[in-house]
Structure formats: structure tokens, C-alpha cells
């Protein structure tokens, strides 16, 4: 049974290969079937394997070595797969959500050209992500890591005729590659100092050899963190994600929910030992997470593009996961990853349905009142929004976020400030999420919209909505340990957070968090349903305008980077297009020419001048010979 492990990443990659080689010759139905089916098969295989884990999960590991990748000296990474509870959670989410997104895409993309190309890329995307999470060494992980970066590039720029899409795609790839490069350097450092890149062995050696807080551990962890930040679009490398909306909507769903951005979270969770050895870095993770979740949340609040709202919301939610990682709440981060995957995929697919119904209109203020035209979309979208806003008790988002907030308060590394940021973020989240819902689905119907899409697209919505609610079950306390099921399941891999103070006022925290999310919803209701004028008026004030602009442009990071990096780089490359070093050689050639002409002047053709030359030469010769 466990021998089937290799099938999980293999299936999508095989699908990719087939589609690339034969795609343009296959009929669309076959293409869609291959694309979706391979991911579906992966999902099935991963569920079969999950059965082996049972409920306990702890300590159970499935490994499979495929082949020796390369072997040079003491560096010999293998292609081998490593499935433990942590990667299982990831694999399940990736394959299942991935499958649903693929299924949805069949309908969504049916009128687009490049159909097989789309599915090929999507398959490769899922395949790369699976390689990433199943890798047993950091080199293979890096393979998947770069692979998802590539696929994001390909898919964001899928509609290649528009240069803006190409720009967004390159931006995504290059900015994440900044992080990737740091990660690569981190790998060099780890290998040079610890002599292996096998993750498990590496962690053991790090723990054994590096004292906590040692400089080298801090540097290594910081480099890995830089990689994670790039992929997960956290401050300060978050700017690519909002632009990444240029791709087709299912792509956004895949990037945000199942693949790509969560890679950073996975990396940190996977190498958490290293981060525990580097407390300053871990604190940095928490602070980055807190800052990101606030800044991105505020930006989400003012966006007009439906997908950009969701994009900023992703950045913000990943911020929560980072916050969790930063306070050592490893499994809480994973829990939130899981719930987020469900509801964010749901929201994106819902948004896709809306966009399709509005003939590719993205501006939410040109929508409105879609509730009645698209009931399925509306209700599922509502569940998504509720889960995102962490409305108490019924939504899975509530449980995962609550766990994070609780640990942000009580963990050894947590603090009131981190908790407060999380609570503020919860309020903001709820505010922008419901703003989105109200503006799009309530109010007057502004334009003609089509109705709900076909079953192949609504079915994933419904399933995801169900999952968004049901995922909360993972928070049920385990009878034996009293811990939540998900924590228990992951306990073999991820240690529990160290609690600073056992006397956590849990009920109080729960109350505050609930109030925050419900308050956000109510505020949105007031601003966008009851008194829409007031919100507009607020924006019209002078202060309001500039704040709005600041938030709308994502806190101006793009402009700063343009000024700081892109601008100077472009300027330098432009002025040096002809390579100033070449001037040195051109100069040498030029001087040769000058000397040629000067010497040419001595060739006058006059015999007496030539005789004079001989005389001069004689004087010089005799001078040197006799007097020197």
C-alpha cells in the first residue's frame, strides 16, 4: 500500500507530460479529463495512505526512495519521498482542493484558447507542490519550491497577449526568486556546516551541534525565513501577490489555497527545530506575521477589484499562520492553513463564478445584488466569508484562528501585543470580508448578470463550502489528551507550544475574538448596507483620500521598490547597454589608429628625409652604444 506513495506526485506530473507532448492534438474533453483525473487519482492515493495513519498520526512515517539523484563527494541527495503527519495534511489539502479547482476549471476555461496548456501548467503546479511537501531532503524540496514558482509564472502570464499579465508574471517569479536565492544560500550554509541536507538528519544534527541562539543557527534560520517570506508573500516581499491576479481565477485559487503561498508555512513548520534554535528569528516571524496581517487586511479593505480583495486577504491570513509559527504554535498554523485552503479556494472559485457571470468584470462597485441571480454562488460565498471572518462556532475559520490567538497570548513566545494585533486583524478581516459580500451580493443590481454556472463549477463550490464548515471538526478535543484532534494528529511531528502561563483566561479571549469578528461584520453592515453614503464621504475627506490611496496601493511598497531597486537597475543596465568595458578595448584600437597615422606622417616619400632618418638613427645608435 505504502508503495503507492510515488504515485501522488507522479500522477499530475505524468498528466503534465502527456498534455505538453500531445495536448494540442487532444480533444478538450480528453484534456480536461486527463488534467483533472490525474489530480483526482493523487487525491485518492493520498486518502488511501491517510487511512494508514489512523487518527493518532503521531510518529507514523512512510518513506520511499525512488532513485539516487546525484552523488558527488559527500553530497548525495536522493529522490525520496517522506510522508508523515505534517506532509499528509499538506498532501490531502493540495490534492483535494487541487482536484476541485481542476474540476471547476473545466467549466471555467471552456471558452479559452490554450486549454491544454492551461491544464498542463495546473498539473505541473500541483505536481511541484507535492514534490515540495513530500521531499525528504531540502534539495528536492527546492526542486518543488522553484517548480511552483515557475508554474505561478506560467499561469499568471497565461493570457500572454496582454503585456501587463506578462509583467505581473515576471514580477511574481522574480520577487519569489529573491527569497528562493536566500533559501539556496541557506541550503549551502546548512550543508557546509552540518554535512547533510536530509531534513530529518539535518534537524537532529542541528539540535545536537548548535546551541540555541548561536549565531550560525540564527543566520541559517534567517535565510530559510527569507525564502519562506518570498513564497508566502509576507512583508517585505508581498508585493507580487496582488498583481498575480492577472491569471485566470482558478489559478488564483490554486496559488492561494493549495499551493505556492503555503509553501513558506510548510517550510518553517518542517524545519521548526532550526527556528527553535534561533529565537530572534522566531520572534521576527511572529512580528512579520502580525505586521503583515494588519497591513494587508487594511489594504484589502479598500480594494475595488474582487480578486485583489481576496489577494490581500490571503496575505493577511498567511500572516496569521506566520504569527502562529512565530509563537511556536506549529500545529495551529497548520490548522489554519487547512481551513484557509478550503474557504479561500471557495471564495476564489465563487469570485470566479461572479466574474464569469459579469463578463470578466472585476470591479465590485459595478456589481451588486447578485444574491438572487446566483443563489448557489451567494450561499457558498457567504459560508466562505463567514469562515474567513471567523464567525464563532459554526465556521472552521473560527476554530483555527481562535487557536492562534489563544497561543499568541499564552505561548512562551507570545505576548499581549501579538494577540492584540491578531484581534485587530480579526476585526479588519471581518470588516473587509463582509464588505465584499455586501457590495457584491446585496444592494441594487447594477448590471445584467448571468445566473449560476453549470454543475461542474457549482459542485466544487458546494463541496468546499461543506469542507469550510466541517474542517472545524478537527478542533474537537481528543478524549485521551484533551488536546484538539489536529494538534494530536500532528504531535508526532510538531511539538506543542510551550505555554508561558497555565492560567490563560480562555473564555475571555474567546469572547473578545468573537466580538471582533462579529463587530467587523456589523460595521460592514452599517457602512455598506445601511449607510453606504457615509463610507463614501469618509473617503472623500482629505485625510481619507490619502489614507485610501496609501492603502489602495498596498502601502506604497511597489513605489519604494521601483525607486530603490528596479529604477536604478534599469537605469544602470540601460546606460551600460554597450558595455563600458568594451570602451577600453575600443580605446586601445583607437590609439593604434592614431599611432598609425602619426607614424604614417614619417613616410613622406622624400629621399632626403629618409636619409635624414638614417642620420638620426645613426646618432641615436652611436649615442646609445658609446655614451650609455
Amino acid at each position: 500500500m505504502t508503495d503507492l506513495l510515488w504515485l501522488i506526485p507522479f500522477m499530475p506530473i505524468a498528466g503534465f507530460t502527456v498534455l505538453v507532448l500531445a495536448g494540442s492534438r487532444l480533444p478538450r474533453s480528453v484534456t480536461g479529463t486527463i488534467g483533472t483525473g490525474t489530480v483526482g487519482l493523487s487525491a485518492v492515493v493520498s486518502m488511501l495512505l491517510a487511512a494508514g495513519f489512523g487518527v493518532k498520526g503521531d510518529g507514523y512515517v512512510v518513506t520511499q526512495t525512488l532513485w539516487q539523484w546525484l552523488s558527488v563527494g559527500d553530497f548525495s541527495p536522493r529522490f525520496s519521498l517522506y510522508l508523515d503527519a505534517l506532509s499528509l495534511v499538506m498532501v490531502l489539502v493540495i490534492t483535494c482542493v487541487g482536484f476541485l479547482i481542476h474540476l471547476y476549471s473545466i467549466g471555467f476555461m471552456k471558452n479559452e484558447e490554450g486549454y491544454s496548456r492551461f491544464f498542463a501548467y495546473m498539473n505541473l503546479f500541483v505536481g511541484s507542490m507535492l514534490v515540495l511537501v513530500l521531499a525528504d531532503n531540502l534539495v528536492s524540496l527546492y526542486l518543488g519550491w522553484e517548480g511552483v514558482g515557475l508554474c505561478s509564472y506560467l499561469l499568471i502570464g497565461f493570457w500572454y497577449r496582454d503585456s501587463a499579465n506578462g509583467y505581473a508574471a515576471r514580477k511574481a517569479f522574480v520577487i519569489t526568486r529573491v527569497g528562493d536565492t536566500a533559501l539556496a544560500v541557506g541550503l549551502f550554509l546548512l550543508f557546509t556546516n552540518l554535512g547533510t541536507l536530509q531534513i530529518q538528519e539535518l534537524m537532529q544534527r542541528a539540535q545536537a551541534e548548535w546551541p540555541a541562539g548561536s549565531k550560525i543557527a540564527v543566520i541559517a534560520a534567517a535565510l530559510l525565513l527569507a525564502g519562506a517570506i518570498g513564497k508566502s508573500a509576507q512583508l517585505p516581499l508581498q508585493t507580487w501577490l496582488p498583481d498575480a491576479m492577472a491569471g485566470p481565477t482558478p489559478v488564483s485559487a490554486l496559488i492561494h489555497a493549495a499551493t505556492m503561498v503555503t509553501a513558506g508555512v510548510y517550510l518553517i513548520a518542517r524545519t521548526h527545530v532550526l527556528f527553535t534554535l534561533a529565537p530572534p528569528v522566531q520572534s521576527a516571524i511572529a512580528i512579520i506575521g502580525a505586521a503583515t496581517l494588519l497591513l494587508a487586511g487594511l489594504s484589502a479593505f479598500v480594494q475595488r477589484d474582487i480578486k485583489r480583495v481576496l489577494a490581500y486577504s490571503t496575505i493577511s491570513q498567511i500572516g496569521y499562520m506566520f504569527l502562529a509559527l512565530g509563537v511556536g504554535a506549529w500545529s495551529a498554523a497548520l490548522f489554519h492553513f487547512m481551513t484557509h485552503a478550503f474557504f479561500k479556494a471557495l471564495l476564489f472559485l465563487g469570485a470566479g463564478a461572479v466574474i464569469l457571470a459579469m463578463d470578466h468584470e472585476h470591479d465590485i462597485f459595478k456589481m451588486g445584488g447578485l444574491r438572487s441571480r446566483m443563489p448557489v454562488t451567494f450561499w457558498t460565498f457567504l459560508i466562505g466569508v463567514a469562515s474567513l471572518s471567523a464567525l464563532p462556532f459554526v465556521t472552521s475559520g473560527f476554530y483555527s484562528k481562535d487557536l492562534i490567538l489563544k497561543l499568541a497570548w499564552s505561548s512562551e513566545r507570545g505576548s499581549v501585543w501579538l494577540w492584540a494585533a491578531g484581534v485587530a486583524g480579526a476585526f479588519i478581516t471581518s470588516l473587509y470580508a463582509f464588505r465584499l459580500l455586501f457590495v457584491v451580493f446585496f444592494g441594487d443590481r447594477l448590471t445584467r448578470a448571468k445566473s449560476d454556472p453549470g454543475i461542474s463549477m457549482t459542485a466544487p463550490l458546494v463541496v468546499l463550502a461543506a469542507l469550510s464548515v466541517a474542517a472545524g471538526l478537527a478542533a474537537l478535543p481528543e478524549p485521551a489528551s484533551g488536546r484538539q484532534a489536529i494538534q494530536q494528529f500532528l504531535s508526532g511531528v510538531l511539538p506543542a507550544a510551550h505555554i508561558r502561563d497555565e492560567r490563560t483566561p480562555e473564555l475571555f479571549l474567546l469572547l473578545i475574538a468573537s466580538c471582533a469578528s462579529i463587530g467587523g461584520m456589523l460595521a460592514a453592515w452599517l457602512l455598506y448596507v445601511l449607510f453606504p453614503r457615509y463610507a463614501e464621504g469618509l473617503v472623500q475627506t482629505r485625510a481619507g483620500r490619502s489614507v485610501h490611496r496609501l492603502l489602495f496601493t498596498g502601502w506604497g511598497f511597489d513605489r519604494i521598490y521601483d525607486r530603490l531597486f528596479a529604477g536604478p537597475f534599469l537605469w544602470l543596465t540601460r546606460i551600460n547597454r554597450d558595455d563600458f568595458i568594451d570602451l577600453v578595448y575600443e580605446g586601445a584600437a583607437w590609439y593604434s589608429g592614431v599611432f598609425h597615422h602619426l607614424l604614417g606622417l614619417t613616410q613622406t616619400g622624400k629621399v632626403r628625409w629618409y636619409a635624414f632618418g638614417i642620420g638620426l638613427g645613426a646618432i641615436i645608435t652611436i649615442g646609445i652604444a658609446v655614451f650609455l
Binding site: 554535512g195 547533510t196 543596465t573
Partner: protein, 517 residues
């Protein structure tokens, strides 16, 4: 059948092709492909027949050797030797030679006989460089390949061919003579201290030199290799030569000629002057990193497609040089892989550029754009080789760059980190190339045929090689391993700091517990 036939086959093939060119224009192509194919097959058979790795002692790892006297008065012999390293490069030479003939099938319509003579002579010279174990012979071949290359550029090249070809020739010739000075200096110093005046590499190894002598002689050698490689700031012949040459010329320049520089570094420079190399190692590494970044920055700003690709070569060869100066097994093996893969990826990009130029009659990227819609197969290939060029994991170039950086980190973390930013830069130029050529809006009047079966086959085979090396580089690494290990022993021991980890203590061992101090 011994190793000297590897040199004779292309030579004879070239002459036959030339003669055949008088009858028809097809004959030279067929003869060339046939003889290169024969060479490839022969090399491959040597590869197969090579004794198992374990059976060979490091340092004396010649798979095949040939030695006969040539100019006895001066101690010059015709000494050839083939080890794993040269085997790989010779294989690459024959393979890219075939690609070169195939890709100029329709491009070269005039004087095909003479064209193929020159092509084959270049290849002869290159193979000779890879096999020579006599420094005079090495210099002989080193210079020999310039003339036919000059002809290829200056006769069949593009608009500025005269300028480009002369520049190429003068750069390489001047640096070549500086190397000759180094060779002669070594020859005399060795002769005076031992009484044996010889140019034989195996005997010159280990000549005792004072630090000053060693440094100056090393610089003479380094001049030639750095120009060929090319290392910044000696690179400025390259973009002109590459962009003005016909497709086959660019392919051979980028794919093979540059490798001769790297090969020289590995085979001659470091083993002959280990101490001097040790003393300038950091400078070399810094220059390499500078080359990586500078080449990439220049590539980014180019408007001419072939020029862009040419500058990427500088960047990629920077990795090779970094690997050489880091001088440990990881970095050297990385350099070897990078050499091979760069030959394929950049060669293929030049083939694509040649195809584009043949159809659009321009190399300006501003005249392109949106070609994906017109020629999806070509665009797909372009994407693939662009990605190989930016070092995507899973493709061969990644293995090369990763190993190089991994190895060089042991020597200098800072330089390695700087060089690693080249990965970002490579993404910038590769993706810009994609955008300008294949993506973006399509001009309305732009129509052209997609790549034909012949072209697709060439590119597909090259792509396949890159993928195979990317996922399973074992055969390549195994082949070069004994050679690399032998070479490392010839370097200064302080050049190769022991790696941390099991390998440093018990070679080949894996894991675990007792190593944890």
C-alpha cells in the same frame, strides 16, 4: 582504433566534405554528419569500454592514451590522453557538431563545401584541445581552431562580421601568445632544474617554482583561458562574435569554444600552478561572481536577441569559473555539468535565434513579440531552454549551478551569496527574453512557419539531454569523477578544505550518529 582517430575523423571528414562540395551542396552535409556521427559513436564506445571506475587509480585515469614523438629537438611530443573529463567534452563536441551541421542545413546555401571544411576544422581543433597532453600540442590546437572559426564568422556571418571576426581573432591570439610565454617559461624552468626539456604535461606537473615564477607563469596561462571563457573584464569579444556568427558558428562558439577556456583552467592552470592559484583564488572567485552578475545585467539590457544570449554565456561561464576556483569535488563536478548543460541550453537558444533570424530577417526583439500564437512549438522550446538557462531545478543547468555554489560556499560564503544573486538576474533576462519574443501582443503582419520536423528533432533531443542530466546526472558525474578526483589531488591541498560531514572522514559513507560531535 585509438584516441588519435578522434582528431583525424573530423579532419578527414572536413577535407572530404570540401571535396564533395564541388559536386553538390548536399554531399558536404551528409559527409559531415556521417563523420561526426562516427566520431560520436567512437567516443561513446570508448565510454562504454572504459574500465570500471574503481579499477582506476586517481591521477592516472586515462581511458585511452596516445604518445609519439613529434619535434624531438624541442622535447615536443604528440601526446593525447582521454579521461572522463575530456571524454564528456569530446562527446559534447561531436554532438554539437552534428547539431551545427543540421541547423545550418538551410541557412548556408553558398560554398557549402568550404563551410563544412571550416566547421570540421574548428571541431578538430577543439577535440585536439580537449585531448592534448603536450603543452605545445595544446597551444597548437588552441591556435588552430581560430582560423576556421574566423572564416565561419567572416564569410557566413551577419552585418558586422568583419569587425566581430577580427576582434575575436585578436583577443584570442594575443592572450594565446601570453599563454605561450607561460608555457615556455615553465618549459625552461623545468628543463633547467631537471635537465629534461619537455612540453609533456605529465612530466611538467609538479615542477618546483618559486612563488614569483609560479604567479607570473600562471597569469600567462590565465590570460588565454580567461579570454576564452570569458571572464569579465576580458569578455568584450564575445557578444560581437556570437551575435555576428552564423547559427552554427554561434552554437560552436558558445557550446564548445568557451569550454576550452574552462578546460584549460581545470586541466592545466590549477594542476600546474597550485600554489599560485591558491594565492589568487579569492580574486578569481570575485571575478567569477562579477562575471555572473555583469553578464546577466548586460544580457538584460540587450535588444538584439543573439547578443542577449551571448551575454548570458558570460554569466553562465562565470559559474564554471567560480567552480574551478573553489576547487573541490562539489564545485568541480558542478563546473563540469554546467559546461555540458550550458553547451546544450545556450546552443539551443542560438539555434532558435537562428531560426527566427532566418524567418524574420532580423535579430531585433522589438520586431518580435507574441510569437506564441504563431509558432507554439518554437515558443515552447524557447520557454524550455529559457528556463534551463535560468537554472530551473530538474534541468541540468541547475545541477551545475547548485553544485558549484555548494562547493564554493565552503571557500567563501560571501562570494557565493553574491554569485547566487545571479540566479535572480538570470530570471530577469530569461523572462525578459520570453516576454519580448514569444509573449506580448502579436504584430498583425507577422506570419511565419513553425519549426519543422528537422528543427524540432534537434531541439527535442537537446531538451531531452538537459532533462536527463537534470534528473539523473549520475552517468555524467561518474564519468568525470575519477578525472576530477585525480585533478583535485594535483591542486594545492589547502585549496580543498575538508568538507564537514561523513564524506570528509570516510568517503562514500552516509549518515549519521557518531559524526555528531
Amino acid at each position: 582504433m585509438t584516441v588519435e582517430w578522434l582528431i583525424l575523423i573530423p579532419l578527414i571528414g572536413g577535407v572530404l566534405a570540401w571535396i564533395g562540395g564541388r559536386r553538390s551542396s548536399l554531399l558536404p552535409r551528409l559527409i559531415s554528419v556521417a563523420s561526426l556521427g562516427a566520431g560520436l559513436a567512437m567516443t561513446a564506445s570508448l565510454w562504454n569500454a572504459s574500465p570500471p571506475v574503481a579499477g582506476r587509480t586517481a591521477g592516472q585515469a586515462w581511458i585511452a592514451e596516445f604518445n609519439t614523438s613529434w619535434i624531438p629537438q624541442l622535447g615536443i611530443g604528440f601526446h593525447l590522453g582521454l579521461d572522463g573529463l575530456s571524454l564528456l567534452l569530446v562527446l559534447l563536441t561531436f554532438f554539437l557538431g552534428i547539431v551545427g551541421v543540421l541547423c545550418s542545413w538551410n541557412e548556408i546555401k553558398e560554398r557549402t563545401g568550404f563551410f563544412h571544411l571550416n566547421l570540421m576544422l574548428v571541431l578538430t581543433g577543439i577535440v585536439g584541445v580537449f585531448l592534448s597532453l603536450d603543452l605545445f600540442l595544446f597551444y597548437f590546437f588552441w591556435e588552430l581552431m581560430l582560423v576556421p572559426m574566423y572564416f565561419l564568422i567572416s564569410i557566413w556571418g551577419h552585418e558586422k562580421r568583419a569587425y566581430a571576426s577580427v576582434k575575436f581573432f585578436i583577443f584570442t591570439q594575443l592572450s594565446g601568445i601570453l599563454m605561450l610565454l607561460g608555457i615556455l617559461g615553465l618549459y625552461f624552468i623545468h628543463g633547467r632544474s631537471t635537465g629534461i626539456y619537455t612540453f609533456d604535461y605529465t612530466q611538467l606537473l609538479g615542477t618546483r617554482l618559486t612563488p614569483g615564477q609560479s604567479l607570473w607563469l600562471m597569469l600567462g596561462f590565465a590570460a588565454a583561458f580567461a579570454v576564452k571563457l570569458p571572464a569579465v573584464p576580458f569578455h568584450s569579444w564575445l557578444p560581437d562574435a556570437h551575435s555576428e556568427a552564423p547559427t552554427a558558428g554561434s552554437l560552436i562558439l558558445a557550446g564548445l569554444l568557451l569550454k576550452t577556456g574552462a578546460y584549460g583552467f581545470i586541466r592545466f592552470l590549477v594542476p600546474l600552478f597550485p600554489d599560485a592559484v591558491e594565492s589568487v583564488r579569492l580574486i578569481g572567485m570575485v571575478l567569477s561572481a562579477a562575471g555572473i552578475l555583469y553578464g546577466a545585467a548586460l544580457a538584460f539590457s540587450q535588444e538584439d536577441l543573439k547578443r542577449l544570449i551571448a551575454y548570458t554565456s558570460i554569466s553562465h561561464m562565470g559559474f564554471v569559473m567560480l567552480g574551478i576556483f573553489a576547487w573541490n569535488e562539489l564545485s568541480l563536478q558542478g563546473a563540469v555539468i554546467q559546461m555540458v548543460c550550458h553547451g546544450f541550453s545556450t546552443g539551443a537558444l542560438f539555434v532558435l535565434a537562428g531560426i527566427l533570424q532566418a524567418r524574420l530577417h532580423t535579430r531585433e526583439m522589438s520586431a518580435m513579440g507574441g510569437l506564441w500564437a504563431v509558432t507554439p512549438r518554437m515558443a515552447g522550446m524557447g520557454l524550455f531552454f529559457g528556463l534551463a538557462s535560468l537554472g530551473l531545478p530538474g534541468l541540468g543547468n541547475f545541477i551545475g549551478e547548485f553544485l558549484v555554489l555548494l562547493g564554493s560556499y565552503r571557500v567563501s560564503g560571501l562570494v557565493t551569496a553574491a554569485a547566487a544573486t545571479g540566479l535572480i538576474a538570470s530570471a530577469l533576462y530569461s523572462l525578459r527574453l520570453m516576454q519580448r519574443v514569444f509573449h506580448g501582443p502579436k504584430r498583425d503582419d507577422l506570419t511565419m512557419a513553425d519549426i519543422a520536423v528537422r528543427e524540432t528533432t534537434i531541439l527535442a533531443v537537446m531538451a531531452a539531454v538537459i532533462v536527463v542530466i537534470g534528473l539523473y546526472p549520475g552517468p555524467v558525474l561518474e564519468t568525470s569523477k575519477p578525472a576530477v578526483e585525480g585533478l583535485i589531488q594535483k591542486g594545492n591541498p589547502s585549496l580543498t578544505p575538508p568538507g564537514r560531514g561523513p564524506g570528509a572522514v570516510k568517503p562514500g559513507g552516509e549518515s549519521s550518529g557518531e559524526m555528531l560531535r
